[in-house]
Amino acid sequence: MNDISKNGLWQQNAILVQLLGLCPVLAISTTLVNAVSLGLATILVMLLANLAIASLRTLIPYEIRIPVFVLIIAALVTVVDLSLNAFLHDLYVMLGIFIPLIVTNCIVLARVEAFAAKNGLAAATLDGAMMGVGFLWVIALIGGLRELIGQGTLFSGIEMIFPSLTHIQLLPADYPGFLVMMLPPGAFFTLGLLIAGRNWLTARTKQRLPNQHMEAAPSAEKTPPVAA
């Protein structure tokens, strides 16, 4: 259980280590609110997808597992999309365009294929949730950094979800903005710096505790990050 959480949040983080689902990450992380919204919707879909596939896994023949997985994920996303539209319409207006995008997010398919298809219900659900939370905190960090540096605010657009709240102006109001951060290159720069930061932290930890660490988790540390 502990390992599943650690993998999802840090060791095998979907964005920083597996580099999966970059298309929605880079496209949606323009503001903190957008990023968190997509992150929450992704958690919900990953939870449902892992749950559904872990419980159906004995029925799915190995040869056709990918089409069946895609079918199940697409159906679940459609169900989430329709239910949000009908019952939580205000949230849907905000998230509307992001939810169909989740189908194209390879994290969902990757976790279903690599974990849910081989593990029990409880472990698979936890893995879906933790991978989703790992996705959420990184995309929220990217979104927050881009918004802060790009336009000097945080939480802009929150009034579309909670009409009583408004955004916070953190930098002076005459801050001219930094357009590059709002455009796609800013997303690449931010992501690159975050990955570099994570690799630096990992390298430092390894240097400090060379012996314990190699014994505790030899396989996780030997794997080159991108190949995971």
Partner: protein, 253 residues
Amino acid sequence: MSELHDPAGNTPQGAPPGRSATHIALRTAFILLAFTLAFTALMASVHYLTAPRVAASAQTEKLRLIAVVLAPTIYNNHLLNDAITLPPTGALGTTENTLLYRARKNNQPAALVFEAVAPDGYAGKINLLLAVAHTGELLALRVTQHKETPGLGDYIDPKKDRNKTRPWINQFDHLGFDRVPVEKWRVKKDGGHFDQMAGATISARAVANASGRALAWANQHREALFALPPKAQYPNTEALTEVPPEKPGVIHE
């Protein structure tokens, strides 16, 4: 996804050895078909169960959007039922059928609400929603869809405008050609009346020009538009007004 799987754990279960390839293929196809049917049925039933609520939400959404340009105090008819269909219209920049709503107060014509498209934004089309009063003034104007550069040209959308107290788009409110003549209905950089932000003129120019064309069109066709019965199709205005047929998307000055 290229990693190899342990074949022992993943071979099709329940397929006893010795069965023919055809048998296995048919069995696999059948399972795939069963999954497809089951999940299509799931999606269809959710769609069926949510459809009325989705339609109601869409109507509320439409009214909320209209309320942004048209104050609810101006009319008291059922706006969504008093709509007519407009064909693609060069003066509005539309390339598809659009709806035009007619607001009436105590059965007297009050205002027209309709869509227009500015084809010449910096990043393609800018969709607009306008409310034009029966007196000929533009009540309000909103950008409903655009792809202008974030942080640069997107101030045409008041949600993105940093000036929250007096957003750029509000300078069009309650203006008619009596106060801003048609030849002045353009941005200051083009010698007109409306402000633009330095460095991002194209978006403002597109919105100003498109709203001027749309306002002129509405004023010209006002009485005919109000006279049509609900749900009717407005005849092609290009033919009526003898405006040379323009290709949508290339309407520049």
